[in-house]
C-alpha cells in the first residue's frame, strides 16, 4: 500500500473513531440508549470479540481503568492507537519522514510470525469467551 493512501486511511479511521467516541459520550451523558451496531451480535445474539470496546475507551477517558478492563480489554490498544497513530502520522507529514510507514510494515511482519499469531488468536478467543460470559 502506498504511503499516502495508508496515511489518509488511518487519519480517516482516527477521525471516524473520535466522532464515534464523542457521539457515544454524548448519548451516555444524556441517558439515551447507545447504538448497537455490531452485525454479529444482531444476527446471532452473542457479543463479538470486540463488543464493548467503545464503552471501554470511554471509561479510559474518564480514568476508570478497572471498569474498562471489565468492559473489554481491547479498549486499551484501541485507545492507544487512537491517541498515538494520528499524532505520529501528522509529525511524519510535517517532517516529511516515513517512520510510521516503516513501523506499520514492521508491525504487519511481526504479527504474521507464527508464535505471535497463535498467541494473539488464543488471547482473542479467551477474551471472546469472557465477553460472552459477561454478556457485554
Amino acid at each position: 500500500m502506498p504511503k499516502k493512501k495508508l496515511y489518509l486511511l488511518i487519519l480517516g479511521f482516527a477521525l471516524a473513531g473520535y466522532s464515534w467516541v464523542i457521539l457515544n459520550h454524548y448519548l451516555l451523558k444524556t441517558n439515551k440508549p447507545t447504538l448497537n451496531v455490531c452485525l454479529f451480535r444482531q444476527v446471532t445474539g452473542i457479543p463479538c470479540p470486540s463488543c464493548g470496546t467503545t464503552h471501554a475507551v470511554l471509561s479510559i477517558t474518564k480514568g476508570d481503568f478497572r471498569q474498562a478492563l471489565d468492559e473489554n480489554i481491547l479498549g486499551f490498544p484501541a485507545a492507544l492507537m487512537l491517541v498515538i497513530f494520528p499524532v505520529w502520522i501528522l509529525i511524519d507529514l510535517f517532517r516529511k519522514k516515513e517512520s510510521f510507514y516503516r513501523f506499520y510494515f514492521w508491525a504487519e511482519y511481526f504479527l504474521r510470525k507464527k508464535w505471535v499469531a497463535y498467541f494473539a488468536l488464543v488471547f482473542l478467543l479467551a477474551n471472546w469467551g469472557w465477553n460472552i460470559y459477561k454478556n457485554v
Binding site: F13, L39, C48, P49, S50, A107
Partner: protein, 112 residues
C-alpha cells in the same frame, strides 16, 4: 520464456488477476528467464473466490484481510466490530479486487 508456456500460465492463472493486467503480465513473462518458470507455479496466489467466501463468513472479524496479507487492516477491522458492520459489507464487494491486486504485487516481486 516461450510464448506457449506463457500462454499456458495465463490460462491456468487468469482467475488470480484482473483482465486489464493480463497484457502487461504476458509481456513481462515473455522476457523472463526460463529457469523462473517453476518458481511462478509454486508462488501460491490467493484465490479471490475463497477470499469472498471467507469475507462473507468471517469478514466481521477481519479474517478476510488477514488471509490476503493485509494484517494491519485486519486488526483494525477486528477491533472495530468489522468497522461498525459497514466495512464488513463494503469488503464483500471489494475483497475480490483487492485479492487480485495482492496477487499482482506478489507476481511483480517475483518478476523483479
Amino acid at each position: 520464456m516461450e510464448a506457449q508456456k506463457v500462454d499456458m500460465f495465463l490460462i491456468m492463472n487468469n482467475k488470480f488477476f484482473e483482465p486489464h493486467q493480463m497484457p502487461y503480465i504476458r509481456e513481462r513473462l515473455l522476457l523472463l528467464d526460463e529457469s523462473k518458470y517453476m518458481m511462478l507455479h509454486t508462488a501460491g496466489f490467493k484465490d479471490p473466490t475463497i477470499s469472498l467466501v471467507v469475507s462473507l463468513l468471517g469478514g466481521h472479524f477481519g479474517i478476510d484481510r488477514f488471509l490476503i496479507g493485509d494484517t494491519g487492516l485486519g486488526v483494525a477491522k477486528l477491533l472495530t466490530c468489522g468497522g461498525l458492520g459497514i466495512w464488513t459489507i463494503i469488503d464483500w464487494f471489494l475483497i475480490m479486487g483487492r485479492t487480485k491486486e495482492v496477487n499482482f504485487e506478489k507476481l511483480q516481486q517475483l518478476l523483479m
